[in-house]
């Protein structure tokens, strides 16, 4: 019983990180029909920003928010410079550009910060919480992770549903041609979508890195699992991304806990293949067709 509770809660905590990555992928996919393979690299790079700020100032929160700001800026910058020229071209162009960006970001991080593993602080204690003598399998840091991603996802939902910016984002995602005819400057809207994706990536990076160490490839595995979560949820659905992330986190936590933790990434890939075989549009996607 104790094990089951530990695995479940621990899985939810990790799942929230997959959810953040999945949300960042969904934001870009909905707006531009681009699968952003550089998302993990962007998250890694902005985590280095946090690492430098924390190292130089000793203030965790300054670093935390610096990473989020850097995520916004990096997303907007990459969209407006590298990704924009691929719009309206063959889908493969954007695939190659975002893979190129990933290599560029990981290479640049290696040159600037070196390839060695750096430890990265957590916001709160990483000691497991207990009720009496009953271990819950999660820490204060895990609770913060879950709360931060949920809060960000909720804020995103409110912006999407209740603001004119959100209406622009949704309209551009559903029908860019009609949106342009209505005078919506979709270039700006797409830049904003990438900026928000950069923000969620940065959030995931800062939250997960205390348990992975920081190095130029540190987000690669997290990206694959975040992508799996997004596919489970249906790449179009922000709600699906969050649910997919938690679902995957819990499943992998059970698999790692009961079957052995060496193969967790393999289980994740197996889940990806399974979903693509059985329900390629994901569990929560409304759209029936998919281009990739």
């Amino acid at each position: 019983m104790q094990e089951f509770v530990e695995f479940t809660l621990g899985g939810i905590a990790v799942g929230m990180i997959y959810a953040a990555i999945a949300l960042s992928l969904v934001l870009v996919w909905r707006g531009t029909r681009v699968l952003n393979y550089s998302q993990g690299g962007m998250a890694m790079f902005t985590t280095y920003v946090a690492w430098v700020v924390i190292r130089d100032t000793g203030d965790y929160w300054l670093g935390f928010f610096a990473a989020l700001a850097a995520g916004l800026a990096l997303g907007a910058f990459l969209e407006s410079t590298a990704v924009r020229p691929t719009m309206g071209k063959a889908p493969l162009n954007s695939v190659i550009v975002t893979i190129g960006l990933l290599i560029l970001l990981e290479g640049a991080a290696g040159i600037i910060y070196g390839g060695q593993y750096r430890s990265f602080p957590a916001a709160f204690s990483i000691r497991g919480l207990k009720i009496g003598s009953f271990g819950l399998g999660i820490s204060e840091a895990d609770l913060f992770t879950a709360a931060a991603v949920l809060a960000a996802a909720l804020a995103l939902f409110l912006v999407f549903e209740y603001t004119s910016i959100g209406l622009r984002l949704r309209a551009t995602a559903f029908s860019p041609g009609v949106s342009r005819l209505l005078g919506i400057r979709i270039g700006r809207v797409l830049t904003l979508g990438w900026a928000l994706a950069g923000l969620f990536g940065a959030l995931a990076g800062v939250l997960v890195t205390p348990s992975t160490f920081l190095y130029p490839n540190s987000m690669d595995a997290i990206f694959v699992l975040g992508f799996t979560a997004a596919v489970i949820g249906g790449l179009d659905s922000p709600v699906g991304a969050v649910i997919g992330g938690v679902l995957l986190g819990v499943l992998l936590s059970y698999a790692g806990g009961y079957l052995g933790s060496n193969l967790v990434l393999v289980y994740g890939l197996a889940a990806l293949v399974l979903v693509l075989m059985i329900r390629p549009s994901g569990l929560f996607s409304g759209a029936a067709t998919r281009r990739v």
């Binding site: 004119s164 209406l167 622009r168 009609v178 005819l181 209505l182 005078g183 919506i184 400057r185």
Partner: protein
Amino acid sequence: MPDSAAALTVEGIVAGYGGVPVLNNVSVAARPGTITAVLGANGAGKTTLLRTISGLVKPRQGRILVDGANVARRPPENIARAGVAHVPEGQGVITELTVEENLRLGALSRRGGSVRSAALGDAYRRFPMLGERKKRPAGLLSGGERQILVIARALMSAPRVLLLDEPSLGLAPRMVTQVMDLVRGLRDDAGLTVLLVEQNARSALAIADCGIVLNLGKVVAADDAAVLAADVALRRHYLGF
């Protein structure tokens, strides 16, 4: 025929998709507060003319003046902001959004929350049917209701010029009459300038002030609507009634 009094002037447009131009030296001027019918057979270039005016197709030559300012070769969103509202054929309702969200979208290019909500109030007053269905996904509307929604949405931007592409396409006869009455009302009550592309030449000429007839990308006739409707040879050759 540069007409300084025109709300919309198209001068010597050459445009198309790739190699052969679809439009060859097309000119048309629409006076403020009039309906200009754009007629012709399938493939004459009617839709391409509207798409060129709204910027979806970039013209190779020619000028497009909206209130005297040349908007040719500008991106569609800028032309929309210059006061041209294009209602494309096949309607362009965003089915995933609610009726109200579709309407609000039309006013997003205007500044000021009060201006936008006033436009929404006007739309519901003019089209009570939309007010009754405002929380419903637009995908659940019937064809006729969708046509009214896209026209209402186009009006949300307070356009100078309205480009309507085949608004009667696929509608039941009763709905065709209703949509045509609506277009006529936009001119008579709101003083709107309308460029109306129609396959259904008879019902378009019945409400239009003047018209042009396109054939293979060229203007073969341009005159008052009554004159065009009375021209038996023209009707037989190009208009099919």
